[in-house]
């Protein structure tokens, strides 16, 4: 993504002059902007975002009205005119106790986002205070060979994002560690490829939920005696298993389809088997391997939410599910906040992978 700055008339504007000075100081040519590019890269996206928010606002308003009318009518048929009037007045007054439960409007979502941030601040302050309070005591406990006291309060929204990221990275690493070596081995031998093919074809489309159950069956028994965090283990293994297929298939394909010329070079130079793999086959299949890893990371992030939701592992997934079960007035808007954050984080993860991919591979043509 190119960073773009909007400067319409740099000569007249103070900011424009400052910007020019800034660029000349750095001895870089100031980027030139054509009206068309600005239109396409800045104005059009902003307009489309505004349009989206506008549509969303109107849509949620319409849904609100439908829900409100239904509520009033129900009061009318069940309890009579007086109750209906009371309900109408209550809804109009904005009283939280009688608001219709439907798609939240953009402003509500924004308010919820701020609430969640404020909540995070409160919780972190609380945590810090707790840490200070127990610091001296914990030192004594550790000296005495006892376990330190830890904060067991509710995790904040930001903490849950952190947990989700931790889980997704653990799962991603697991996928990497399993899929890349197996992919290379499968790719090198046609016999292995055909013997593994059925397995890959069968397991690739299996839903994340089923993987979770399978992992649960195994991990539950294996962690019976230890008091480790089995929810985390279950969710990251499931994420890894769901997401690794893209990498596995791409690695195998990359290794299997190395340009014959490169193989001939390796033969003519008489490279050893290991050297052939590490100096010729792997580098030439890196672009495909990284394409696979990029898909794996985005799949991992996507299935993570569903898996957390089921595994009761703390994270964005369980946040969404808890809010849904909670049914408070702002639950719906918190769910939408989570949805946007999930999307944005997924997008950022993909961008990071793209940067890594471009840095590692020799053909710098990969793009969004």
């Amino acid at each position: 993504m190119k960073q773009s700055v909007t400067v319409n008339e740099p000569k007249d504007l103070k900011a424009g002059v400052a910007l020019k000075a800034f660029f000349s100081k750095l001895k870089i040519k100031p980027p030139k902007f054509e009206v068309k590019t600005i239109l396409r890269k800045v104005v059009v996206p902003i307009v489309s975002i505004l349009l989206f928010i506008g549509l969303w606002h109107m849509g949620s308003k319409a849904l609100f009205n439908v829900e409100a009318n239904y509520k009033i009518e129900k009061a009318l048929t069940d309890q009579g005119q007086a109750a209906a009037d009371a309900t109408k007045a209550c809804i109009a007054s904005g009283d939280l106790s009688c608001q219709p439960n439907t798609l939240p409007s953009p402003s509500q979502v924004w308010a919820s986002f701020n609430t969640l941030l404020a909540d995070h601040k409160t919780i972190s302050a609380d945590k810090l205070a707790f840490k200070e309070k127990t610091a001296a005591l914990n030192e004594k406990r550790i000296a005495a060979g006892k376990e330190p006291i830890t904060y067991t309060g509710r995790p904040s929204f930001v903490d849950q994002i952190g947990t989700s990221l931790k889980t997704v990275f653990a799962g991603f690493l697991l996928a990497l560690v399993i899929a890349v070596p197996i992919g290379i081995i499968i790719g090198l031998s046609e016999t292995l490829r055909s013997s593994f093919n059925w397995l890959i074809q069968i397991f690739k489309p299996v839903s994340p939920v089923v993987w979770l159950l399978l992992v649960f069956m195994i991990v539950k028994t294996m962690t019976k005696d230890s008091n480790s965090d089995s929810a985390f283990i279950i969710s990251f293994i499931s994420v890894g298993l769901c997401a690794m297929w893209a990498t596995l298939v791409n690695t195998a394909m990359g290794v299997a389809t190395v340009d014959k010329d490169y193989i001939n070079v390796a033969k003519v130079l008489k490279l050893g088997a290991l050297q052939k793999v590490f100096k010729v086959i792997l580098p030439s299949s890196l672009p495909l391997i990284f394409t696979g890893l990029r898909i794996t990371l985005s799949v991992a992030w996507m299935v993570l939410i569903a898996i957390e939701l089921l595994a009761q592992s703390p994270g964005l997934g369980s946040f969404v599910w808890e809010e849904f079960q909670n049914g408070a007035n702002d639950s719906n808007s918190k769910i939408i906040v989570a949805m946007f954050l999930i999307g944005i984080i997924g997008f950022l993860l993909d961008r990071i992978m793209l940067v890594v991919q471009n840095a590692v591979s020799f053909n710098k043509n990969a793009s969004a």
């Binding site: 070079v265 003519v268 580098p283 030439s284 591979s361 020799f362």
Partner: protein, 279 residues
């Protein structure tokens, strides 16, 4: 004793009914220090022949002997310059050459290897581009890297598979001279596969046409009795050059005609005349 010898070599691709014999009954002897060119149409099996000699392929029947021993595998003694350069795109020029040097001289010190790489890159005039990737180079420069890589292994024989085929005429001429220069320094045995008769005459001691495949065989050889070093501009006025060139081209054209004649099938047209609707 012949340096490189091919005895009744046949190469068939595929098996059973789908088998196509690409090369049949190839007999070729190359003496030490000789520069031999094989000229043929595209698709006549030139690359197959090269791969048989460098050890990438094994003949279906017959023998390929190098210094009296059968060729079973690739060897550092035979350096190959491929048709499409085959440089590894993720390595720089220096690294591409270094890869070959490390394999051919594994016992040398790091410093000696490095010097060797530098020397061969220098030899093909690419020192300023030593850290560039093949992608950043022009076709001619890439081919120079391939030449440096093949020669850096200090092979006894150098096999070139249409090395200049993809280059423009001017670059081609320059590189021909460079290759000849390098060759004349220590007179390694060289085998050049090409589709350009002039290139063959300019560079080689002997030219052998390859009759087009399937079932390609080698035609009669043409000796080039022109003093070295040869001068390209003077060559045009050289009567021997003209004679040899005409003979080879006539031969190749003859093959082309033969092929056409074989392919010709006469269709009998029915004897009809259009019916007139006017009268």
């Amino acid at each position: 004793m012949a340096y490189l010898e091919l005895k009744n070599v046949c190469k068939t691709y595929g098996t059973g009914e789908q088998a196509t014999q690409v090369l049949s009954d190839i007999n070729l002897t190359i003496g030490e220090g000789e520069f031999v060119a094989i000229v043929g149409f595209t698709g006549s099996g030139k690359t197959t022949l090269v791969n048989l000699i460098n050890g990438l392929l094994k003949p279906t029947s017959g023998e390929v002997l190098f210094k009296g021993k059968p060729v079973v595998d690739t060897s550092h003694e035979r350096g190959v310059i491929f048709q499409n350069y085959s440089l590894l795109p993720w390595l720089s020029v220096g690294q591409n050459v270094a890869m070959a040097v490390k394999e051919a001289f594994p016992k040398d010190s790091k410093k000696a290897q490095k010097e060797r790489v530098a020397a061969y890159v220098e030899m093909v005039g690419l020192s300023p581009a030593i850290n560039k990737r093949p992608k950043e180079l022009s076709g001619g420069m890439r081919q120079r890297v391939a030449v440096a890589r093949a020669l850096s292994m200090n092979p006894e024989m150098i096999i070139m598979d249409e090395p200049l085929g993809a280059l423009d005429a001017l670059t081609r001429g320059n590189l021909q001279d460079e290759i000849l220069n390098i060759w004349s320094k220590d007179k390694r045995t060289a085998l050049l596969i090409t589709n350009d008769v002039d290139e063959g005459i300019y560079m080689a001691d002997r030219i052998i046409p390859l009759r087009p495949g399937p079932n390609a065989t080698l035609g009669p050889e043409f000796k080039i009795d022109i003093e070295r070093p040869r001068d390209k501009t003077e060559l045009n006025d050289n009567p021997t050059y003209k004679k040899t060139r005409n003979a080879i081209i006539e031969y190749l054209m003859g093959i082309g005609e033969e092929r056409k004649a074989e392919a010709k099938k006469v269709y009998e047209l029915p004897d009809l005349s259009p019916k007139s609707f006017v009268a």
